[in-house]
Amino acid sequence: MKPIKRITSRTVVLPTTDVDTDQIMPARFLTTTSREGLGDKVFHDLRFDSEGKPRAEFVLNAPEAAGCSVLVAGRNFGCGSSREHAPWGLLDYGFEAVISSELADIFRNNALKNGLVAIVVDATTHEWLLDNPGAEVVIDVEHTTLTLPGERTIQFDLDGFARFCLVEGIDQLGYLQRHLDRIEQFEAARPWKP
């Protein structure tokens, strides 16, 4: 994975609360055996009508959304299914970060393991972001700060290990494999075997 230290972008805002991973990546697209090419499918049924034409009212279809790589989402974004196709799709579409006041556990885990910077900010900052789509923000992953226009800087919540892996571009499997000796000892020493 390539290191991610800093993201600078305008925001695109999807204020709906409880956006589930079925909205982010409908199940009918999960028959793929690859992780590539899912950007076309992300938010598919919100982006396109039944004839495949873009829905003008959906935020990602607005001209000003072009080139935005930071998604500001409503509370509890990514709830529901564990499908990793959701963050794969968001990354493939061009998003580098998702900001909310609350992210569903599995989605957040999946996102961070793929280099999609999924961060949680306080309710006041979240509200400001929801009210100001298109704001130019800077996410400093290394120092876990978010800078809003006017040099306002706030601290955001990101697990220290996830931050380290993002900043250093570390693959977590490699880290786990370094513990194989310990894993073998654990298996040998267990009082009962599964």
Binding site: P15, T16, T17, D18, D20, D22, Q23, P26, A27, R28, L30, T31, T32, T33, S34, R35, D45, S50, G74, R75, N76, C79, G80, S81, S82, R83, E84, E102, A104, D105, I106, N109, N110, K113, N114, D159, G160, F161, F164, Q172, L173, Y175, L176, Q177, H179, L180, R182, I183, F186, E187, W192, P194
Partner: protein
């Protein structure tokens, strides 16, 4: 004096290979890894790219469920019923299992089925185990006092390669259910009421333990329904302390210890309960005696009302959007809505007792004109047992479709879907927009409510048919 601990803490501690620190998560050992065709292909590709084997094929249980057709399959042509992508995915799973030495419970095995139905059915799910699967409803297995949770595909790769996961220790939430469920009110109604109470994000970052007399009174299949929907409350996992009901269910099953080893296991399992003075991070209390059959009215499982209660009002934009999608009116009960499709099945309510519950209501009645009712057993074994009891005849003679095992219309990725605008009363777990087909409107309910709705042609109270 030992420190009082919760059930979750006891199971967690027994599986920590490397303790967590401020800077690093714990390395947690996985006792059972269940794999299916949808969330594993990219993980197997990773193993191939890195030249890695599956480290513990003996602790890996593989089946096909999500993208399989629910019409009989014997050839590739049959498989295409579910679509070309789905057929390819099933074939890829068969190849992956064969290449990596996994025993696949596939077509014709007699043991294929939804991951969360077959784990318990085979006795692979046991108290005190850590169980993971690339599927959020893995929380189901917590009904046995296992710590069971859904993971993503990257983590599936981690478990295949190392049998471990990197995890931060979650918090604990006690959900105490006092009283007893009234007649005609089921475990499904109870868990919908719990989610309605805590909200769809009420459990985020937590492992729930369901406790109290109403939980202790439930059989194992009902407990599985409860734990299954923990994720719908945002929780990582849901757990219930194992007891004689648990041991009675497991005894004699294919993959449980036998003889003296069984006795030793039961003795060990008896210690898996929260100590009397164990402290939970949070607690919620609900009285089962006050509950009625519950149905959802919106587009998440927390938007739920009693069967006779009016749909509430709110000025919240997301709430109003949900009601507009559902074409449901504030102030009217859900029984005002006509039904197009009824689905009985899924990892929530696709077990024998669920099918029996639906059959009991449906017996002697007909599915209303214009209503399509699909009954999909959770596993090949559930299907065989239901047929041995003649339940298939009850459904077929009432005008319902009796199908092969699979996830089917719960997520509609195998071609079993409802049409745009159709209202589907479903025993599954998610009423998300488009979950059961683009534009399809889902009302979550118990198998009894689903069957009653099939008869009435509108959302209906099952207590009138009992």
């Amino acid at each position: 004096m030992s420190i009082p601990r919760t059930l979750f803490e006891k199971v967690w501690r027994q599986h920590v290979v490397v303790e967590e620190t401020a800077d690093t998560p714990a390395v947690l050992y996985v006792d059972l890894h269940i794999v299916h065709e949808v969330t594993t292909p990219q993980a197997f590709s990773m193993l191939r790219e890195q030249g890695l084997p599956v480290r513990r094929p003996d602790l890996t249980l593989a089946t096909l469920d999500h993208s399989t057709p629910t019409t009989p399959v014997s050839t590739f042509k049959d498989l295409l019923v579910a679509g070309e992508g789905a057929a390819r995915q099933v074939r890829q799973m068969e190849k992956n299992c064969s290449d990596f030495g996994l025993d696949l419970l596939g077509f014709g095995s007699g043991k294929r089925g939804i991951v969360h139905v077959i784990g318990p059915e085979l006795g692979a799910t046991q108290p005190g185990k850590t169980i993971v699967c690339g599927d959020s409803h893995t929380s189901t297995h917590g009904a046995f006092g296992a710590l069971a949770f859904g993971i993503g595909t990257t983590e599936v790769g981690h478990v295949l390669a190392t049998q471990c996961l990197l995890q931060r220790k979650p918090k604990t939430l006690a959900v105490n259910i006092a009283g007893a469920l009234p007649a005609g009110v089921t475990a499904k109604d109870l868990i919908l009421a719990v989610i309605g109470t805590i909200g769809v994000d009420g459990g985020t970052g937590h492992v729930i333990e369901y406790r109290g007399p109403a939980i202790e009174a439930l059989d194992m299949e009902a407990r599985m329904t409860i734990c299954n929907m923990s994720i719908e409350g945002g929780a990582r996992a849901g757990m219930i302390a194992p007891d004689d009901t648990t041991f009675g269910y497991l005894q004699g099953r294919e993959r449980v210890p036998q003889g003296a080893a069984w006795d030793a296991a039961v003795e060990r399992w008896r210690s898996l309960r929260s100590d009397d003075d164990a402290v939970f991070d949070r607690a919620v209390d609900i009285d089962a005696a006050t509950l009625v059959p519950m149905v959802t009215f919106g587009t998440n499982p927390g938007m739920v009302v009693g069967i006779d209660d009016p749909v509430p009002a709110s000025s919240d934009a997301s709430f109003r959007k949900a009601l507009a999608y559902m074409q449901v009116e504030t102030g009217k009960p859900m029984t005002a809505n006509a039904v197009d499709v009824v689905f009985v099945g899924s990892c929530t309510n696709g077990r024998l007792s669920d099918i029996e519950e639906a059959a009991r209501v449906l017996a002697g009645h007909r599915v209303a004109d214009g209503v399509r009712m699909l009954v999909v057993p959770g596993s090949e074994q559930v299907k065989a047992e239901a047929e041995a009891r003649g339940l298939d005849e009850v459904f077929i003679s009432a005008g319902a479709e009796w199908r092969e095992a699979g996830c089917s219309m719960c997520l509609g990725m195998n071609g079993d879907i409802a049409a745009p605008g159709q209202l589907c009363v479903s025993t599954s777990n998610r009423n998300f927009e488009g979950r059961q087909g683009i534009g399809a409107r889902t009302v979550l309910a118990s198998p009894a409510t689903a069957a009653a709705s099939a008869i009435a042609g509108r959302v209906a109270d099952p207590r009138k048919y009992l």
